[in-house]
């Protein structure tokens, strides 16, 4: 086997699907380099980090890099921007591509100058040798990169990095801070109409009646669009579209379905359809030493994405071609599902990414794209922009699934865990487009020829979904982990930041503290005693040191606690320590996080993601729960779905443990589980009482107190 064929077998990142060099970059005459990534900016700063990687391998200034927004007609297909994989997938691919591009540029420059590549002096794309000079920008043409990426070009050594590993300012922030148009919601195309969708705030099987007589005559209304139970409005003015939507909602009656179960967690346990043992270890000898048995059950409610900017899309149909602008995380998958829903050919559709408000998983972005496309069919070639209203967003974006968890363990007389059992019950954590037979887009289920609503599924281990991080990272001689999959869905669920890891880590790490207490061993010493992984031990140590764990002074009503995980058991290590004060409500005063993501691309970017994740997790953990009435979701505004406010946000300190020699792992989701566990453990420490149901509200704490007395 030759070197090229061999290297093809271990293709890095997204090169497998996108092996041509020309798919990844173009060198422009004006001294800029356009980078084509299939990954998208969702508020996490990924385009800045990818630009750093490209600049590094090309050996040019960061300012020369232009990141091209992902577009199905020009970008490599890199699937979905999710799972904290963008640095691993796109970053690794770009690193290879740019290293090869640099080699090719140098070879050509050498040929131009009539010297050998070894004689060239290169600085920021300017090439000199023997008194002659040229530039990358003069040497490049489209033919140069029309080749396969063979992965033989030498990569720059992390020791020599000048751009990677240094803080880089986010490329998107100047626009956003100046208030310039930047978001998809800010798009304005000539002749654009405004659309709104008329949906009830709960599941429905169809429309019984719609009295549109009053709305029809509304001044400025362009059309009422109806296809089965799908109803939308088009207007010249956005405010008119909103008024029409509101009026039509009152004038419609819907065929309702799926009344909500009263006790969702009991319901999940009763409706599990698949029971999969995902990890099993047996050592009967050690197991027989167990003397202290503990068991505990934990719950996590449905959680909303609750982005500040509701979902939005713009669509235009021109000459049988559909153009869609979307803040989808997966533009190729969205294109596929749009084609299914609209009975169009995929090659007649282009989806281009435009940034939306913060995205924390599978939200309403894809749904809004089909909404806009359906309305565009009635717009006579004019572009149509649809933005969901706040209640549309709370009612229709998929929720992060509720979960129930039961844990059991046995301790030997020395306080070692000799047996560990973890069972979880949950709906699937992904109903993203592109993964089921029919379109996973809300409007498709209500058309006159309706598509079936797909059930959420779980991606397989080792990354997993509901069972993400359910297998403990600790070394237990006996263990059994069971994933009970619930197929039936009272609520639409899909991927929310960290998927099952949030609840699994909350449960595992809460239970570790319960066991440590039973064994009368310090929570951190107890963890270290069961953990061999040196990188895991290092983040725990670092967090403990930074927080001053061993110098804690007991104060009435205050507590501290730790939570730890290696995200997906594959990615970033994160240990969190929380310090809380429990009065009527829980207040988190301080969070200290230590993180190891391997090679750090943009230190400030990683800190921002970890800090943001920790604060969001604090909000989930203290406050958040989708509320239901008999018909469905009842928390449809910020009053009924409160999130953490400025005055409630803890001080957050983040310590990075840099490993330039190790592969870079994503940081976006690593803090979710450890933060929740740290807070829960701190609350237990403060109260002397364990609260096992999230969120840790006054009501949940009061219930735990009354159960214990």
């Amino acid at each position: 086997m030759n070197a090229v064929a061999e290297s093809r077998l271990k293709r890095k990142g997204s090169l497998e699907k996108n092996p041509r060099l020309s798919q990844w970059l173009r060198v422009l005459r004006d001294g800029a380099v356009s980078i084509y990534s299939g990954k998208v900016e969702i508020g996490q700063g990924i385009l800045t980090a990818l630009a750093q990687i490209a600049a590094e391998e090309l050996g040019i200034a960061l300012e020369r890099i232009r990141m091209i927004a992902a577009d199905t007609s020009v970008s490599p297909d890199e699937g979905v921007t999710s799972g904290s994989l963008s640095i691993q997938d796109s970053g690794a691919a770009l690193r290879r591509a740019c290293a090869q591009a640099r080699t090719l540029l140098l070879e050509r420059a050498a040929a131009h100058l009539g010297v050998s590549p070894g004689d060239l002096q290169v600085k920021d794309g300017a090439v000199r040798a023997a008194g002659l000079s040229t530039t990358f920008w003069e040497c490049a043409d489209d033919a140069l990169f029309d080749c396969e990426i063979d992965e033989t070009a030498e990569l720059r050594s992390p020791r020599d990095y000048r751009v990677v590993g240094k803080p880089a300012a986010r490329r998107d922030l100047p626009d956003k801070i100046a208030g310039r148009p930047h978001f998809i919601q800010d798009m304005m195309l000539p002749g654009m109409l405004y659309g709104r969708i008329v949906r009830p705030p709960h599941n429905f099987a169809g429309l019984i009646s719609l009295d549109d007589s009053k709305v029809k005559s509304m001044q400025g209304l362009t059309a009422i669009v109806r296809d089965g139970g799908f109803v939308g409005v088009l207007a010249e003015r956005e405010d008119v579209a909103i008024s029409a939507q509101r009026a039509l909602r009152l004038a419609a009656s819907w065929k309702e379905i799926d009344p909500m179960p009263q006790d969702v967690h009991a319901w999940l346990k009763e409706h599990a359809a698949e029971h999969r043992v995902i990890s099993e270890k047996e050592n009967a000898d050690v197991k027989s030493r167990g003397v202290t048995m503990l068991e505990a059950s934990y719950t996590k409610p449905y959680i909303s994405h609750a982005s500040i900017g509701p979902s939005c899309a713009t669509a235009q149909i021109d000459d049988g071609k559909l153009m869609v602008w979307s803040h989808s995380q997966g533009i190729f998958n969205l294109r596929r599902d749009l084609a299914l829903a609209l009975a169009m050919r995929e090659d007649a559709i282009v989806v281009r990414h435009v940034e939306g408000a913060g995205c924390y998983g599978h939200n309403g972005a894809d749904d809004a794209a089909l909404d806009a496309a359906l309305l565009a069919r009635a717009a006579g070639g004019r572009p149509v922009q649809v933005q969901w209203m706040r209640d549309d967003e709370f009612a229709w974006a998929p929720c992060g699934p509720a979960m129930a968890l039961s844990l059991r363990a046995a301790l030997d007389p020395q306080g070692n865990i000799v047996d560990w059992r973890h069972e979880l019950w949950s709906n699937g954590h992904s109903s993203r487009p592109g993964r089921s037979q029919g379109p996973a887009l809300a409007a498709a289920w209500h058309l006159s020829t309706p598509h079936e609503r797909p059930s959420a599924i779980n991606m397989p281990l080792p990354a997993g979904a509901a069972d993400r991080n359910a297998i403990p990272i600790y070394d237990f001689p006996n263990q059994r982990v069971v994933n009970h999959y619930v197929h039936e869905m009272p609520v639409r669920t899909s991927a929310l930041r960290s998927l099952g890891a949030y609840a699994n880590v909350f449960a595992i790490e809460s239970f570790m503290d319960e066991l440590a207490q039973a064994a009368e061993i310090d929570a951190i010493a107890f963890r270290l005693r069961h953990l061999k992984d040196p990188r895991g031990r290092a983040v725990i140590d670092a967090a403990a040191r930074r927080a001053g764990w061993s110098n804690w002074k007991p104060v009435e009503g205050r507590g501290h606690g730790i939570g730890f995980a290696k995200y997906k058991n594959l990615g970033a290590y994160c240990a969190a320590i929380a310090e809380v004060e429990v009065g009527r409500e829980v207040r988190v005063n301080r969070l200290v996080l230590a993180v190891d993501v391997g090679l750090v691309i943009n230190p400030d970017g990683v800190i921002n993601q970890i800090e943001g994740g920790a604060i969001q997790s604090t909000s989930w953990t203290l406050k958040e729960e989708v509320k239901f009435d008999a018909r469905g979701i009842a928390s449809l505004d910020w009053e009924h779905y409160p999130i953490l406010k400025f005055s409630e946000v803890p001080a957050v300190e983040v310590e990075l443990i840099d490993h330039p020699e190790l592969p870079a792992a994503g940081a976006g989701e690593a803090a979710q589980g450890p933060t929740a566990a740290a807070i829960a453990n701190a609350v237990a420490h403060a109260l002397g009482l364990r609260v096992r149901e999230l969120p840790l509200t006054y009501e949940k704490i009061a219930a735990a107190i009354s159960q214990s007395t």
Partner: protein, 156 residues
């Protein structure tokens, strides 16, 4: 048809021939193409659409045009002077105080109102004054640091 409504937006007087019940938000975003003021909830609960009306932060989504007529309205685009950025905006850049940036405009407006009446706020005062602004990405602490930095720069 009613009389055109007269608005003073970022110091410039403008007349709009639209329904006086139209929320100010859509007049700003779509008629005047000032896209920095953003829709978040439509009920004044999140702060994404805050503008200054005669110096006071108010949700443009919940303010009918008639009630803003004749008053001085400042949007995020009008915070700076002479085409430059407001010190708050420079401080937000220096602190990299955003993730998605969708709530940023409204936070800047609330912070500008705070600094106008209290040039050297404490951290607690900054937090309290931003409590009507929601941020989902968890950029709160960076934004608070940025406001304090701007305060130091405006009134050293």
């Amino acid at each position: 048809m009613t009389e055109p409504l007269r608005l003073i937006v970022n110091g410039a007087e403008t007349a709009l021939d639209v329904d006086p019940h139209t929320p100010l938000l859509y007049a700003l975003r779509n008629d005047l193409e000032l896209k920095g003021t953003r829709f978040g909830c439509g009920t004044g609960q999140c702060g994404a659409c805050f503008v200054l009306i005669d110096g006071h932060p108010a949700p443009a989504c919940d303010t009918p045009l008639w009630s803003a007529a004749g008053k001085s309205i400042t949007t995020v685009e009008g915070l700076g002077t002479g085409g430059g950025l407001h010190p708050l905006q420079n401080a937000f850049l220096a602190e990299q105080a955003a993730q998605c940036g969708y709530c940023t405009s409204g936070v800047l407006i609330a912070a500008a109102a705070l600094l106008a009446k209290n040039p050297r706020p404490t951290e607690g005062e900054v937090r309290a004054s931003l409590d009507r602004n929601l941020c989902r990405c968890g950029s709160h602490n960076r934004m608070v640091r940025a406001v304090l930095r701007a305060a130091r720069e405006i009134a050293p």
